[in-house]
């Protein structure tokens, strides 16, 4: 039965009992009837009130109910209010004094802190710092931290040189940096090889191209030497060829193939690949420097000049601009 219904019954019984009490007749049977009616009202009310109590006040079951019933029965009307008040106090008071699991602290705030040792690091270039054993080791280690964030293509030589340093920490750091860079690329290669094994026909070209680029990257970043470099270049060439079988019109890949061949010392083939790249529409700015290099190796100086002149002024190759300028100036009277 819902507590609302119970409440209605209780209130009705109580009103009945009050009416009985207020009647002028003083009769024992009437009083017993009153007691019965009031008792019923108290019992019902206690059931409702007990149900509303927080769980920890409900044990022991019977006694707690009897307590509420007694209040309701022996102190009519006021008793019930008292007990509800008691319950409220019982909930609020301990809460006021209980240890809270969380306390409030001030918000921490950040004040920028400067490093106190503004070591004379800036007055010396990294290379001489790392290659001299006269500089304090702590400073050289600091220099190494800078190298860590620089491209391996630039730092490779220096790092390799540091591998033979007399200070072990520096050696290990250099090793760690080189190893890390090499590992990143090797991991990508592993992944691509794995994909290639199960690749559909349509994806083979992309993966082969990616592999050629990755193997090339190992060489380009100067992470492989000696026999391993030879092997890496072979792999790069192999996958470049595989890619070109699928997509013979990929000018960029022809250029890459040319550069790989150039590194392998196969100048003739490199020349052919690069010429293809040029014919397939790659700009002079991208291809000609390599063709010029081949021409230079073949001692065909006028050809170098010709090739370099083909590179337009607005070329993005800012590093190249100087050499383009040089080759332009090489032919007198036409400078502009």
């Amino acid at each position: 039965m819902s507590s609302l219904k119970l409440l209605i019954y209780a209130v009705s019984a109580e009103i009945a009992s009050l009416l009985l009490l207020l009647s002028r007749q003083a009769d024992l049977s009437l009083f017993v009837l009153y007691l019965f009616s009031h008792g019923l009202a108290s019992a019902l009310l206690s059931v409702v009130a007990w149900g509303l109590l927080p769980p920890r006040f409900r044990t022991p079951k019977i006694l707690s109910w009897v307590l509420i019933f007694s209040f309701a029965f022996f102190i009519p009307a006021v008793g019930l209010v008292t007990i509800l008040g008691g319950v409220a106090l019982g909930i609020w008071l301990p809460a006021l004094f209980r240890d809270k699991p969380f306390g409030l602290v001030d918000q921490p705030y950040f004040t920028p802190v400067q490093v106190n040792n503004a070591a004379g690091f800036r007055q010396i270039d990294l290379k001489s710092l790392l290659t001299t054993s006269r500089a304090p080791n702590a400073l050289r280690v600091q220099g190494m931290l800078v190298l860590k964030d620089m491209p391996a293509k630039v730092t490779g030589n220096l790092l390799r040189h540091t591998l033979g340093d007399s200070f072990e920490d520096l050696r290990l750091l250099a090793y760690g940096i080189l190893d890390q860079k090499e590992k990143e690329i090797t991991r990508d290669i592993e992944r691509a090889l794995h994909l290639l094994e199960r690749a559909k026909e349509s994806r083979r070209y992309r993966l082969a191209r990616r592999l050629a680029e990755l193997y090339w990257e190992l060489n380009y970043q100067d992470l492989v030497r000696g026999d391993i470099r030879t092997l890496t270049l072979e792999r790069a060439a192999f996958y470049a060829d595989m890619g070109l079988m699928e997509a013979p019109e990929d000018a960029g890949l022809w250029l890459l193939r040319g550069r790989i061949q150039l590194n392998q010392g196969e100048i003739g083939e490199a020349h052919q690949s690069m010429t293809f790249a040029r014919r397939l529409g790659l700009s002079a700015a991208k291809v000609n420097p390599w063709l010029a290099e081949i021409a230079l190796q073949r001692r065909q100086i006028p050809l170098v000049r010709l090739l370099m002149r083909e590179i337009t002024d607005d070329s993005q190759f800012t590093q190249l601009n100087k050499s383009v300028e040089f080759w332009r100036a090489y032919e007198p009277a036409t400078g502009g």
Partner: protein
């Protein structure tokens, strides 16, 4: 299997991540030392990271190991009851004073007294209890203040947890120290956590502490930390100075440096394997008058039998003996094999060592063999008995990026196998000799730079190809080991150390602090 237990021992070894649960050079050395001193009883206190990082025991415990206990530093208990309280502000002011002195590099009586006071009040209910560190208001305030004052990294959350996690093993060590059996002396095989435990024990019991360091722990930690990717740097792009280490990285490095320094300061004697390492220890704070060198030694009679088992011919086999882990740089060995096989197509490369320590790395190595096309020439043998392996080997190769005084080189020499090694640790000293007299024994192989596979491969190839050079190197190796690196010499030196240190306690009797502690426990 239940571990041996005893009430007391002569020498208590403090072992961090080594014997008997990890195999390797240091563990073999510990095994050798224990077996070499049957007159002493040993207790082994193993300290590891997490239970799941170790398997079964890799060594049979010698009979004179009467006690073995195993502890883990990162075995967190979760859900413990938390309760906030005020904590002792005065105590934290002292702690601040101590850290200031550490920061400024001041070594004074005051610092040493503060340290003693701090490490003796780490127990439950005391000023520096773990509970107080983790939950007291005083601790919070100290951390928050330090953050404001020193942190170059803006993230408070990272700062707070870095400090908590960094310091948490200290209370584990304190518990270990509380319950460790009494011993006449403590012998730690590294600095780091085990060394710090030694320093704590020394401060509490007054018993002598001996430190034998193989690799330089602090240095190895430092290199690890430089490269680790789990330490965050929350500075913005414009706040960053590339020449500056990430702040938390620096914190960790400093932490381990100080652990090491406390151990050096507390040790009665500090043993290095060779001179360069001794110098390094002094740079890191070891008092020079307590340091000495004792090189590793080899059981010659045993190795002579191995040498006798060799055939006449030089087997075209280059063997790397060591665990397959990054520090051994197995990849460089494999790449060198490519060069070697290009010169000598029949040559074989063996890798004799367990692969379970760094499975990821082992997998990469196997992958590399395939990509180098060396499947026919390279074999991974797993753990091998050295007596059976060495007679079949032509050259021992060590491609490590860091070593101390590798036992495998000495064992190889004694067994008549020359070596090609990278120029790390004392390898050059072992192969080429140090000083006039030593150099006169000749070159027992070749030394090359680290991470230079081509030079390594070529050096091995030229040794294997040239019979005369090979035999000369073999003889040089044998002479050098027999004259300079025998087990008798090493045991002799340690016997003196043990006798003087154990003797110290017998003469002086247990110190007062020790008595007090023991009464408190029983």
């Amino acid at each position: 299997m239940s571990l041996p237990r005893a009430d007391s021992a002569d020498i208590c070894l403090l072992l961090e991540g080594t014997f008997p649960y990890v195999s390797g050079g240091v563990s073999s050395w510990v095994n050798q030392i224990i077996r070499g001193f049957p007159e002493y009883t040993f207790a082994c206190c193993f300290v590891g990271s997490r239970p799941e990082d170790y398997g079964d025991m890799k060594y049979e415990l010698p009979d004179n190991v009467v006690h073995l206990e195993v502890h883990y530093l990162h075995n967190f208990q979760r859900g413990a009851q938390k309760r906030s309280f005020k904590g002792n502000r005065k105590a934290y002011a002292d702690l601040r004073r101590f850290h200031e002195m550490v920061k400024d590099g001041i070594h004074s009586r005051e610092r040493s007294e503060l340290f003693s006071r701090i490490v003796t009040h780490l127990g439950e209910g005391e000023d520096y209890s773990e509970e107080s560190f983790l939950h007291s208001r005083a601790s919070w305030d100290y951390i928050a203040e330090s953050y404001r004052e020193f942190s170059r990294d803006p993230s408070f959350v990272d700062y707070f947890w870095t400090i908590r996690i960094m310091h948490s093993p200290i209370w584990v060590l304190n518990d270990i120290a509380d319950n460790l059996l009494p011993a006449k002396m403590y012998h730690t095989i590294s600095t780091g956590y085990a060394g710090f435990l030694g320093a704590m024990l020394k401060r509490r019991t007054g018993k002598p502490l001996l430190l034998s360091e193989h690799g330089i722990y602090t240095k190895e930690r430092k290199i690890d930390l430089f490269q680790s990717e789990w330490i965050s740097d929350n500075r913005g792009l414009v706040e960053k100075n590339n020449a500056e280490m990430a702040y938390f990285r620096e914190k960790w490095v400093n932490f381990f440096t100080e652990l090491g320094r406390e151990c050096y300061q507390a040790s009665d004697r500090i043993v290095a394997l060779y001179e360069r390492n001794r110098e390094r220890q002094m740079e890191d704070g070891a008092p020079p008058d307590r340091t000495l060198n004792i090189p590793n030694g080899i059981d010659l009679p045993r190795m002579q039998k191995v040498r006798a088992a060799r055939g006449e011919a030089i087997p075209p086999v280059a063997c790397l003996i060591g665990r397959v882990v990054p520090i051994k740089d197995v990849k460089t060995f494999l790449r060198a094999m490519r060069t070697l096989v290009n010169v000598l197509p029949d040559a074989e490369g063996w890798i004799a060592g367990p692969e379970d320590e760094d499975k990821e790395y082992a997998k990469e190595c196997h992958g590399l063999v395939a990509s180098l096309g060396l499947e026919k020439n390279v074999k991974f043998l797993g753990f091998q008995k050295i007596d059976e392996l060495l007679p079949k080997v032509g050259v021992i190769v060590l491609s490590s990026i860091s070593e101390a005084l590798p036992l495998v080189l000495l064992e190889g020499f004694a067994a008549g196998v020359p070596a090609v090694s990278t120029d790390v640790g004392s390898c050059r000293q072992l192969i080429e000799g140090l000083g006039e007299a030593d150099r006169a024994y000749g070159k027992a192989g070749e030394v090359v730079g680290i991470a230079d596979p081509e030079a390594l491969g070529n050096a091995v190839a030229s040794l294997l190809k040239d019979k005369d050079a090979w035999h000369q190197a073999q003889q040089a190796g044998i002479r050098r080991v027999e004259n300079l690196y025998t087990q008798e010499m090493m045991f002799g030196a340690y016997r003196d150390l043990y006798q003087s240190l154990v003797g110290d306690t017998d003469a002086a009797g247990p110190q007062e602090s020790n008595n007090r502690r023991r009464e408190g426990r029983h």
